[in-house]
Structure formats: structure tokens, C-alpha cells
Symmetry: C2
DNA sequence: TTCTTGGCTTGATTCAGGTCAATGTGGCGT
DNA sequence: ACGCCACATTGACCTGAATCAAGCCAAGAA
């Protein structure tokens, strides 16, 4: 795993190969500047005052990982919490025999470390080159103790996450393969909307295998159904994503 | 829906038919006495000092609902939060066409209302006669604002719930019917342990249909596999539950 | 340029679990 | 005692998605 570190207090701390700096986070100075963070409004940090952001700056380290590199691994001590600022991340659990369940995908603005447990409940690796704001769990926990409104916000994010997980339980337990694909595309469209605005173009940084492992299907089934939806003019498959043609139909299929 | 109310401040507030008072909560006085609550150690309230419990007493109302009665319904305003003190509750989501996903079962000590949303994410109804401690969401929210350590506790419960939901995603997405049943029985055994101590007898207050709707299976499949596990001497089916004979085998099947 | 590799698609076949249809069974109200 | 009803079980059959097996294609490596 190669991670490049950029930190105000210790810019010589870089280890491993540097990843190219991504377009979304073009700070050439090796500083964290929460006040100007472009995902701030989407993230936990939105709960903070400007004065508090200065404190946060001091705690934060920005990290960059390349595609396919690991952020953290299931069952390892969770020493850090992360705020994704650019890129996309796959979150998954492995069974001993290799079966895999993807429990979610993280996009810019998403927070990893809601869980308050000292072991990671799942592994996380980057789907595309990814930047994140990283805090030590200790610093973070102390900061939380001092800022009850931040804790409120954290709790409301965890509640929201729980609610999404329950929706996913409905999808996995009670929906057909076609409905799962439709729900996935509509759900992802809605999440990209927060980041990029509402477009019929839905980027899919993950592979078909990842989608299958998220939806409880095989690659082949995902591929067949995407092809079928395309044949029936509900979507168009484009490089690195899909374009939604018949949003109404997809929403009807996805309806909860 | 019939609910009997018993409250210190307003014992005349009873409406509807009274349910018989349950064995586990035999207060004949219509008062809430958190300090002596038998599920306190299991519940949120464990985070509170004795002095704070007195405040809680004043906010709380105990309610009793009979089997099959509704505590609250999906998409309705969530005006109350609940602490289950006796009985068992089914939590579920309905699709428009009637398909159902049970998202969980609540046992004594479980808290309903982690979610901080003003609409219920799911419906809840009693499987067996059930007692709960009920708080208005407003009172509760104000109380939380004044007690950051209670909020911490609430958040850690929500985190735990999220982690369980992710485990359930693995079960629904990537496990065989037999593994699902084993995981369900072992998981339920572990939860009853908190309430009753560790026994090989696992009460099943829910129907086979409920289990199927929790595990993404049909009644018939649940019935067949329970019968098979019984035939193979892994369990014995007894009235209102099962007795685990070969715990090691079940744990191997359930392994995460 | 050709070779390799990883991801994607497509077709043929299989099978785990669903569906449909009886039948069994225990509790409850009359 | 009787009938009812909800729940549970069991059997026969069906099907949606998995599995197995090729190919296809684009991006890198040699």
C-alpha cells in the first residue's frame, strides 16, 4: 500500500511513492485548509464554526491513495477516521471462503469511521485515485468530547447510514435482480447529485463484479441485466458509467 | 391498536382496554421507577446517574401492548421513542406490492428510536405481550442536549446497530439458506443471553413467516431447513422455540 | 506489432430455493 | 365436543439466477 502524506506540521513525512495530486484537491502547498474544503458542505465538518475548523486543520492529514490501494482492512485496529475529499472507495466484508459482500461505496463528502469501534468492521480500498482527510481516532474522539454539536451531527449521519443499510436489506432480501440493478443506479444517481449536481450520466467507478457483490448477484447476472436495460432503452452503457434514458421506469422498478 | 398507559403524573390517562400486567413488570402502582428497572443494565439508561434517572422517571410513560398490536407504523411521524422492558417486537418494511422485509426483532433492553428522523423508517408490532418505556421525542431530544454522555451512548448503540445491519447484508447477499438459518439461531441465542443468560433453549416468539421475511427466504424453505437441522440432530424443535444440540456445527455454519 | 491481462458479454446448462397444493396440528371460542 | 383458524409441514414441480464455458475488447507490456 502506498500512501502519500501532506501535512502542515511535517511535510517531510511523505513515505512511499507520491500519487499524482488529483484535480479536485489541487493544493500544491502541503497544508490542510478545512475552511476552503470543497466537500465541507457535504461532510461532517459542516457542523463546525470557522474557529473550530482551525483546530481541525491542526489534527488533519490529507492522504492520497491510488486506484486499488487499501485504506484500511477488516478486523485491523481502526486507528484513523477518514473524510473522503475526492475519488471513490469500495467497502466490503470477506467470508473465510472468499465470498465477498460489498457493504457500500464511499464518494466525496462521505465519512469513514462512524462506528466508534476500535476494530474495522470492513475493508476499504480505493476504486479510483482517492484523496481523504485523515484524523487519528484519539484526537478525533477528544475533539468530539469537546463539541457535542459535532457528536449530534455524527450520530445523525450514523442514523442515516443505518437507514440506508436497512433499505439495502430490503433490496437483498426481497427484490428481483432487475429491481436491484434499477435501485442501485437510481440510488447512485442520487448520491452523485450531492457531489456533482443532477445528471442522467451516472459514473460507475466500480467493476461489474463489485456491483454484483453489492447486490448479491453474480457478474454475469449484472452484465446480462445491464445489457437488457440498454436493449430496452432504459439506459445507455457508456465508458465508465451509464446514461439514464428512462428514469421514470427505473424509479418505478426501484420504488421502496 | 390498544395501549394501556400507566403514569405517575397522570394515572387517569388510560385509554383503550387495559392489557393484563405482565409478569416481568408487575408494578401495581402506576409509576415509572427507572432505578429499579430490570432491563436498565441492558439499555441506554445504564449511561445515567441515579439523580438523572429521577428526571427520566418524570418523562417516561410505561405502555403495554398485546401480541400482534402495533407500536408504530412506517412513514408515520415518530413522536415517541421506546425502551422495550418485556416481550418481543417485529420491525419490518413493506414494499407497495406486499413483499415484506423484517429488518430486526427487538428484545427487552432494546431501544427503538435511534434514528433521529421524524418519520419511522419501519413498522413495529408486538410478537408477544410487550411492555415498553415510552418518551416523547421532544422531551427526549431536549434531555439528550443536556446529557452529552447519553448522546455518546446513543451513538455507540446506533453504531452497533449499523454493524449488525451490515452483518445482515452479508447474510442476505452471500449466504445459503442453511447458513442463514444457523446464523439466525446463533445470533438470537447470543441476544437472549444478555436478557436471560446463556441457554441452549432459544425462544422463537416469531412465526416461520417472520423468520423467512428476516432471512430473505420463504416459509417453506425455513420450515424444511429447520426440519432438516432437527433430523440431523443439530437442533430440536420445541414449542415456541428450539433447543440447540450441536452448537459447534451451527457456529461453523454461521461463521462470519 | 504481438502478447498478456483484466474486465465484460453471451450462451448452454444446472440447481437452490420458490411456487403451488395438500395435509397436519394445537389453541380458542362457542 | 366441535369447528375454526392460523401456523407449520411436506411433496411435486418450476424457475430465476448461478454456474460453466467461450469469446470479445482495450490497455499495457514486451
Amino acid at each position: 500500500m502506498e500512501i502519500s502524506l501532506r501535512k502542515k506540521a511535517d511535510s517531510a513525512a511523505s513515505k512511499g511513492l507520491d500519487q499524482p495530486v488529483l484535480a479536485l484537491c489541487p493544493n500544491s502547498k502541503a497544508t490542510v485548509d478545512c475552511a476552503r474544503c470543497r466537500v465541507r458542505a457535504l461532510s461532517l465538518c459542516d457542523a463546525l464554526e470557522d474557529s473550530e475548523l482551525v483546530e481541525l486543520d491542526r489534527m488533519a492529514t490529507t492522504i492520497s491513495v491510488g486506484a486499488k490501494e487499501t485504506l484500511f482492512e477488516q478486523d485491523q485496529p481502526s486507528d484513523w477516521v477518514y473524510n473522503i475529499t475526492a475519488g471513490s472507495v469500495r467497502l466490503y466484508k470477506l467470508l473465510p471462503d472468499g465470498r465477498r459482500q460489498v457493504v457500500g461505496f464511499a464518494l466525496p463528502g462521505d465519512f469513514l469511521g462512524l462506528s466508534m469501534s476500535h476494530k474495522n468492521a470492513f475493508s476499504a480500498d480505493a476504486l479510483t485515485p482517492t484523496n481523504a482527510c485523515r484524523f487519528s481516532r484519539n484526537d478525533y474522539s477528544n475533539f468530539l468530547d469537546a463539541k457535542p454539536h459535532l457528536l449530534r451531527r455524527l450520530h445523525s449521519m450514523a442514523s442515516h447510514e443505518l437507514s440506508l443499510a436497512q433499505d439495502q436489506m430490503v433490496i437483498l432480501g426481497r427484490r428481483t435482480a432487475e429491481e436491484r440493478i434499477a435501485a442501485f443506479l437510481i440510488g447512485l444517481r442520487n448520491r452523485w447529485t450531492r457531489v456533482n449536481g443532477n445528471h442522467v450520466h451516472v459514473p460507475l467507478p466500480m467493476t461489474r463484479q463489485d456491483i454484483g457483490d453489492f447486490l448479491g448477484l453474480t457478474v454475469e447476472t449484472v452484465s446480462r441485466l445491464m445489457t437488457r436495460l440498454a436493449r430496452e432503452k432504459a439506459i445507455v452503457i457508456v465508458p465508465d458509467g451509464v446514461r439514464l434514458l428512462d428514469v421514470a421506469r427505473l424509479e418505478r422498478l426501484a420504488e421502496i
